[in-house]
């Protein structure tokens, strides 16, 4: 009797326990994620970290990144590069659908490329243009997929792109993890009613949109027509907007949420010692820098740039204090965790005497002109204030007076990015895989080169990189570029650091991919 009872109970237990796959991942459950920035709307073809989080939860593209930052297939099962890199032929996973049931095939992928190049104009844009002739719309992905000149459908699941020489090398990199990962929207839903789409996006990723209450939550559920069979593991994913960093940490500690997407450096120690919480420290793919405006005094003078950006900064001290030891002193343009990182830190030792000598040579200091600079930063990161104070003290030792102005993000964005009228600022950059990842900040033709270097040699090296598909050659070009930037004193970097994330201990299968990509496809809950 007892063995029979045990058998029956075992069968019942197995029947009602969560299903697992071959790797032991359990199916089902709801993942709750805390986010610190809310999206302005849900149109995925736009920038902003809030939109990025949602876009990557419910979207999919041709390629994505693996845990080692290698480009791997997403919708693309495989691809073939030919004609010296000018042609890429993608074979797609068959059988997938967009969230509205539209087949996810080569024709729909072509449509997505064609609205970038402007070969196809969405109906809603045409209608708005009729009402308001000045209306202009440009797809955000045009910024880095400008070089794709033709897209062909070879068969239902094969699509081929033809590219110009300059830019051909950045396609896969840019589509997988640039500031706006290239994701596919349902042509049927996107074409007609943008107002509806901004509130109810229809894409092709592992989760399907359910509900969005702005400044409150965003819910999505498993998409049954997802092309990667067997995924995702979760039934549902819920994002909760929590502006206060301490409260995000408290909610994680209390088990009310499962993941903090962006753990501020000051909360690292708290998270580390909270039971039931694990901290994910990714590779150091971000830089913490104090960008200068290369077109404004006193930075036009290379000696001043070199004095303050190279020898005048005690990076180790800033890392130890303001950055809580969670960064690595680093001077190169490519961050320490990038694939083409080149450690040039030893070439910029902290040497106030040398910095003073350079300033004197440039006519500043005792007996010369007084050196005064204004650092304008924003209130988006608590570390900015501490780093500003540290820099002020270090500059004072060189005889340079620094005023600190703190403004809100919108004011800072306009002054720094658009008008380029800030003399000096602070910035924790986006994540970079290579020197090209954030090269829009330094290429004078990008239109958004807010470091204002305006140097044709930088443009030449970047164009060379973008035209070369040999990875070794790219690394060689990148190293030349990094050495050149350092020699010119263009890029005052302090350190490289990691994007910190924290999860409950029972969250499995989540990989920290920096700010590059947020992927919840393989996440499961060990509950």
């Amino acid at each position: 009797m007892l063995p029979m009872l045990i058998t029956v109970l075992s069968i019942l237990f197995l029947a009602f326990s969560p299903a697992t796959d071959a790797q032991g991942a359990k199916r089902g459950g709801t993942l709750k994620v805390a986010i610190e920035g809310e999206a302005v709307n849900l149109d995925p073809l736009g920038v902003g970290f809030g939109r990025k989080v949602y876009r990557e939860a419910i979207g999919s593209g041709l390629v994505r990144l693996d845990g080692n930052f290698n480009v791997v297939g997403d919708l693309a099962k495989s691809w073939e590069i030919s004609d010296e890199g000018r042609v890429i032929t993608f074979k797609l996973h068959p059988g997938g659908t967009y969230h509205d049931g539209t087949p996810l095939d080569a024709a729909s992928v072509k449509w997505n490329f064609d609205i970038i190049s402007g070969k196809v104009v969405p109906t809603w844009v045409k209608e708005l243009k009729k009402k308001s002739p000045k209306y202009k719309w440009r797809n955000i992905f045009l910024g880095y997929l400008f070089h794709i000149n033709k897209v062909e459908v070879l068969d239902k699941y094969t699509v081929r792109i033809h590219q110009n020489d300059v830019g051909k090398a950045m396609t896969l990199d840019a589509m997988s993890a640039a500031f706006s990962r290239f994701v596919l929207v349902s042509p049927k839903s996107y074409d007609m009613n943008i107002e509806k789409f901004r509130r109810h996006p229809v894409m092709s990723g592992p989760y399907k949109f359910v509900e969005w209450k702005r400044n409150r939550h965003f819910f999505a559920e498993r998409h049954k027509g997802y092309f990667r069979k067997g995924l995702p593991y979760l039934d549902r994913i819920e994002f909760y907007f929590m502006a206060d960093a301490n409260q995000r940490m408290n909610a994680l500690a209390a088990g009310e949420i499962d993941i903090i997407n962006n753990l501020p450096i000051p909360l690292y120690a708290t998270a580390k010692k909270t039971s039931g919480v694990k901290v994910l420290v990714g590779p150091q793919t971000m830089n913490y820098a104090f960008p200068i405006n290369g077109q404004r005094a006193p930075w036009k003078d290379k000696r001043v740039r070199r004095a303050l950006s190279c020898f005048g900064v005690d990076r180790a001290q800033i890392v130890k204090t303001a950055l809580r030891g969670l960064a690595k002193p680093w001077v190169s343009y490519s961050p320490a965790g990038a694939k083409d990182a080149l450690d040039l830190t030893a070439e910029c030792p902290y040497d106030p005497a040398k910095a003073k000598a350079l300033l004197k040579e440039a006519g500043y200091g005792p007996g010369g002109k007084p050196l005064k600079v204004t650092l304008t930063t924003n209130n988006s990161d608590p570390a900015h204030i501490e780093v500003s104070q540290a820099l002020k003290l270090q500059f004072a030792k060189l005889g340079a007076a620094m005023d600190i102005r703190v403004v809100d993000y919108a004011t800072w964005n306009r002054a720094f990015v658009r008008q380029r009228k800030l003399q000096l600022t602070l910035q924790n950059t986006l994540s970079s895989r290579t020197a090209n990842s954030n090269s829009h900040t330094i290429h004078s033709k990008s239109g958004i080169d807010y470091y204002n270097m305006k140097d044709t040699e930088i443009d030449r090296l970047l164009d060379l990189w973008r035209s070369t598909i040999d990875p070794q050659k790219q690394i060689g070009i990148s190293h030349k570029l990094q050495r050149y930037i350092l020699a010119q004193g263009y890029y005052p970097n302090i350190a490289s650091f990691s994007f910190l994330q924290a999860t409950r201990s029972d969250v499995k299968g989540f990989t920290n991919l920096g700010k590059m990509m947020l992927d919840y496809t393989s996440v499961w809950l060990d509950r």
């Binding site: 202009k136 919108a410 829009h440």
Partner: protein
């Protein structure tokens, strides 16, 4: 009294007109605009220019203001530039949450302030007075962002009785809703309670020694009745004035508490609108919040007449 109320309500129109005009000019004069917030860092200037023209943001400020006002008069509060959502719908969604916070906070404040203030005043310079006044001083000097976090540490992470943050609508169940609102309401209410406790005590001490109170006692009235009916009612006038102002200040106070506890109220709506320079949303927020402030003051004036029948507003 009716004529007075009507006159005051009519006066609301120029007051609100003035407020909206000043705010419209101010918000337009600070750097940034909704198109920049919408497009982010990566856009080309001709796209931004075309969008500004599309949304009418390239017109002179006074023209934009008149157009906004014209639409408002016709009942059209406009649409948010960033999301395209109607501003009025958004306000109607966020406002009840804030009103509930404000109402709850005032109830908590009164529940703390009236008993504590009265006990302090009838037993001055005793341990109960010192305790109440020390508590009030702590409450006044504790900023809301700090008080809120302390309450979370104690009630949520310590005792586990309330959630750390978040909001559940009434439709999720009264228990769920109230447990989520408890800490935000306590955070706001305890600070206001501390301010009012000191005020109640001070006002009570002033009236408690007055002749009419002694007369009531000498006529044999029970002490409880003397305190509540004769002393407290007369001590209420300054308290009501401050309460009215506190309701106004609470509209601003909710911004911090809503941010800490992720409560989707009007304050959070307003602060997001300001950060993203979404002008129609900012104007909607200002219009509603200033109306609450002005109406709270009107209510106070009307209450005066009830509390002290000698006050008459007619000529």
């Amino acid at each position: 009294m009716r004529a007075y109320i009507i006159r005051r309500i009519l006066l609301l129109i120029p007051t609100l007109l003035g407020i909206t005009m000043v705010v419209f000019l101010t918000i337009q004069s600070i750097p940034g605009d909704p198109i920049e917030a919408y497009l982010g860092e990566f856009y080309e200037e001709d796209v931004a220019t075309a969008l500004r023209s599309h949304y009418g943001l390239d017109r002179p400020i006074h023209v934009q203001y008149v157009l906004w006002l014209g639409r408002l008069v016709r009942g059209d509060w406009g649409k948010e530039v960033l999301s395209g959502l109607p501003v009025l719908d958004q306000i109607l969604e966020h406002l009840p949450v804030s009103l509930e916070l404000i109402l709850g906070a005032m109830i908590v404040a009164l529940m703390v302030a009236i008993p504590a203030g009265i006990i302090s005043s009838v037993r001055p310079y005793t341990p109960s007075d010192y305790t109440a006044m020390t508590g009030a001083m702590v409450g006044i000097s504790t900023p809301e962002f700090f008080g809120g976090i302390m309450l979370v540490l104690f009630f949520s992470l310590g005792l586990g009785v309330f959630p750390v943050q978040g909001y559940k609508p009434w439709s999720a169940g009264a228990g769920e809703h109230l447990s989520h609102m408890a800490l935000p309401i306590l955070t706001l209410g305890l600070t206001r309670g501390a301010i009012l406790t000191r005020l109640v005590r001070g006002c009570m001490l002033e009236v408690i020694g007055q002749d009419y109170v002694n007369t009531a006692r000498s006529k044999g009235a029970v002490e409880f009745v003397v305190i509540l009916r004769h002393a407290f009612k007369n001590a209420l006038i300054p308290v009501v004035t401050v309460m009215g102002l506190q309701v106004g200040f609470l509209v601003g106070g909710t911004i911090i508490v809503e941010t800490i506890f992720s409560v989707p109220g009007l304050g959070q709506y307003g602060i997001n609108a300001i950060s993203s320079r979404d002008y129609p949303a900012v104007m909607g927020f200002i219009l509603v919040s200033s109306s609450i402030f002005v109406l709270a003051n009107l209510t106070v004036d009307v209450l005066y007449a009830y509390l002290n029948p000698r006050i008459r507003y007619e000529n």
